[in-house]
Symmetry: C2
Subunit: 347 residues, 2 copies
C-alpha cells in the first residue's frame, strides 16, 4: 500500500517509505503512446473525450511508475467554459477575442462545471476507477492570474502589457475579472474533487508577472478566495508557480498545503523560508533529463540533499517534461528518486 499512500502522506507532512515523485506533463508529447494517439486526435478533442483523457492519464502512471496521476486536461478549458473562443495552434493557444475592457469582463460567465466541462468530470471518474488503490489522482486548474494573462493577452505574451494596462489603468475591471476567475476556478476544482480527485493543483505558471506589492494587491486575495472555496473538500491543495522565487512567502499566505517551486530556488532555501508546516513540491530542471545516468543520479541526490530529509517533500520537475525528453530518462528519474530516498524519508 505504500505507493498508493506516499504522495498524500507527503502533502500532509506524514512520513512515508520513500519520497513520492510525479512529473508535470507526465502525459505528453515525449511519450510514443501519446504521440500515436495525437496523430489521429487533436488536442482539444482528446481533452473532451473522457475515455481517451482517462487512458492518457493512466498510461503515464503505468509507463513511469510515478506516485500520483494528474487528470489529462488543459488550464484553458476554463476560458472556454467562461464563454471565450479558444484555438490551439502550433505556436500556442490563441483567444481570438481577448477580454480587453469592463464590458468584455461582464460578458464572461462563471460556469456550472457539470454543464460546462462534463467531459472533464467523466474523465476524472473513469481515471479514478482505474487508479483506485494504485495512486491518487490530482485535479487541476489555472490560477486566476495565469488565466487572466491568456484571457486579456489573447495568448502567450512576453510583456503582459495588455494585462498590466488593465491592472494599473483599470483596477476595478481587473479586480472584477480576477473575482470571476477565482469563482470559476473554485467551481472547476470542487467539481473535480467531487468526481474523485484526491488532490488539487493550481498552476500559476505566470505567477511572476507582478512584483510583491502588486501580487499582494491583485493576486493573493484571489488565491486566498480559491483556497477558502476548497475548504471542506478534504484534499490537499498544491499551489505551483514559476519565476516566483521572490514571492514564496506570499504564495504560502494563500493557505495551500503544498507549494510547488521551479529550479530557480534551492529546496533548502524554499524550506527555510516556508517553515516546517508546509510541504514543498519540486524542483529538478527539466533539462536535467538530458543528462547521462550517473549525472542524473547525482542531480537527484543533490535535490534530495537540498531538501535534507524528513517528510513533506514531493519530488517533481521545476516545470513540465520537455517534449524532447526520452521516456527511458523519465523512468530512470522516477526509479532513482525512489531508490535514493528509500532510507532518508523512512519513518
Amino acid at each position: 500500500m505504500s505507493r498508493a499512500s506516499r504522495f498524500l502522506d507527503a502533502c500532509f507532512l506524514r512520513p512515508s517509505d520513500c519520497t513520492p515523485v510525479w512529473l508535470m506533463r507526465q502525459a505528453g508529447r515525449y511519450q510514443p503512446s501519446y504521440r500515436a494517439l495525437r496523430a489521429r486526435v487533436p488536442f482539444l478533442e482528446l481533452c473532451r473525450t473522457p475515455e481517451l483523457a482517462a487512458q492518457v492519464t493512466v498510461n503515464a502512471v503505468r509507463e513511469l511508475g510515478v506516485d500520483a496521476a494528474i487528470i489529462f486536461s488543459d488550464i484553458l478549458v476554463a476560458a472556454e467554459a467562461m464563454g471565450t473562443k479558444l484555438e490551439l495552434t502550433e505556436a500556442g493557444p490563441v483567444l481570438p477575442e481577448p477580454v480587453l475592457n469592463a464590458s468584455a469582463v461582464e460578458r464572461l460567465r462563471v460556469p456550472d462545471p457539470t454543464e460546462a466541462v462534463p467531459y472533464l468530470l467523466e474523465a476524472v471518474r473513469l481515471a479514478r476507477r482505474e487508479l483506485d488503490g494504485v495512486v491518487p489522482l490530482i485535479g487541476f486548474a489555472g490560477a486566476p492570474l495565469t488565466l487572466a494573462t491568456y484571457l486579456v493577452e489573447g495568448g502567450h505574451s512576453k510583456t503582459y502589457s495588455r494585462l498590466k494596462r488593465m491592472i494599473f489603468a483599470e483596477p476595478a475591471t481587473a479586480h472584477r475579472l480576477m473575482d470571476k476567475l477565482a469563482r470559476t476556478v473554485v467551481g472547476l476544482l470542487r467539481a473535480q474533487a467531487e468526481a474523485g480527485c484526491q488532490a488539487l493543483q493550481i498552476f500559476d505558471s505566470w505567477g511572476g508577472v507582478l512584483g510583491p506589492g502588486d501580487y499582494r494587491r491583485f493576486v493573493l486575495p484571489y488565491l486566498q478566495q480559491v483556497m477558502a472555496g476548497l475548504e471542506g473538500c478534504g484534499v490537499p491543495r498544491i499551489l505551483f508557480a514559476t519565476g516566483a522565487s521572490s514571492l514564496l512567502e506570499l504564495m504560502a499566505a494563500s493557505g495551500a498545503e503544498v507549494i510547488g517551486v521551479d529550479w530557480r530556488l534551492g529546496l533548502d532555501e524554499a524550506r527555510r523560508r516556508l517553515g516546517p508546516d508546509r510541504a514543498v513540491m519540486g524542483n529538478l530542471d527539466p533539462g536535467c533529463l538530458f543528462l547521462p545516468d550517473p549525472e542524473l543520479e547525482a542531480r537527484v541526490g543533490e535535490t534530495l540533499g537540498e531538501w535534507g530529509g524528513g517528510p513533506g517533500h514531493i519530488f517533481n520537475l521545476g516545470h513540465g517534461v520537455l517534449p524532447e525528453t526520452s521516456p527511458e530518462r523519465a523512468r530512470y528519474l522516477v526509479e532513482t528518486v525512489h531508490r535514493l530516498s528509500a532510507r532518508s524519508t523512512a519513518p
Copy 2:
C-alpha cells in the same frame, strides 16, 4: 553640471543632487518620433545607419530628460557579427540556422568589432559628440547566456529545451560556445568604450533560465570573463537580468559595479543582499506607466523608499518601456524621480 555627472556618480557610489534615472528602451516604439522614422526605415537598417542610430539615441534624451543615453542597437548584432543569419520578424528575431552542435559552434567566429560592426562604433562616436557634457552614453551587449539562447533556440523560446539539451547532454560544446560568446562580448564592449561610451551594460534578459547550481557552472564563469576583459576600460559595468531574483549574489560575483534588477524583488531586499559596495539599477514595473499621475508618483516614492536613500541607486524600469506607453507618462516619471529624490540623495 549635475545632470551630466549624476548617473556616473551613482554607479560609483558617490552622492549626487538627486537620483539619476534612465529607462531601458527609452528609444523605441512608444515614441512618435521613433515610429515616424521606423515607418520608412527597417529596424536592422536603422541599427546599421550611424547617423540615424545616433539621432534616435539622442532624441530619447532630449524628449525625456533622462540622465543617461544608451546607444541605439540590438543585442543580436553580435549574432550576425559571429556569422549567423538573422531576420527580425513581427513575431521576434529568427535565426534560420541555429547553432545546434559542436561543428556549428566551431564555425562561429569571434569577430573584430571594427570590421564586424563599424556602423555601431560610428554611431557611438556621433552620439557621444552630440551628448558630450549633457549626459553619459552607455554601450551594451547581450550576456553570453542570453545570446546563447537565441543562437541555439533560433529565436525566442518558452522552454529553452535546445539550449538545455546542449548544456546537459553536450557540456563541452556549451562551454565552447559560452567562451566564444564571452570573447565576442568583450570585444564589442571594449570597442564601444574606446569609441566613447562612458558605461557598459550587459543584458542577461534570460538570466533566469538556469538554477543557482547550473548558473555557477555555465553562466558565472563567462560573466567573470567578460568583466575581467573590461578591466582597464575605466567605465562602470552594469549587469542586468530579469527573473533572476534567486541569483542576485551570483550576479554580484561577476564583478559588475552595478546590478540591474526587475520588479520581482524589492530594492530593500536587493540592497540588503548585495551589501553596501554595489550600486543597484531598477526597478519599477513598466506597467506602472499606465497609472494616473498621483498613483505613479506614489509608486516612484515607494521605489525610492525601498532603496532608502543614500548614493548607489540608479532609477530605471524593471524591464523595457512597453510600446503602449504614452510619452507623457515616461516624461512624468523622469521628472517625478528627480523631484522626489532631490532631498534624499543630496550629499
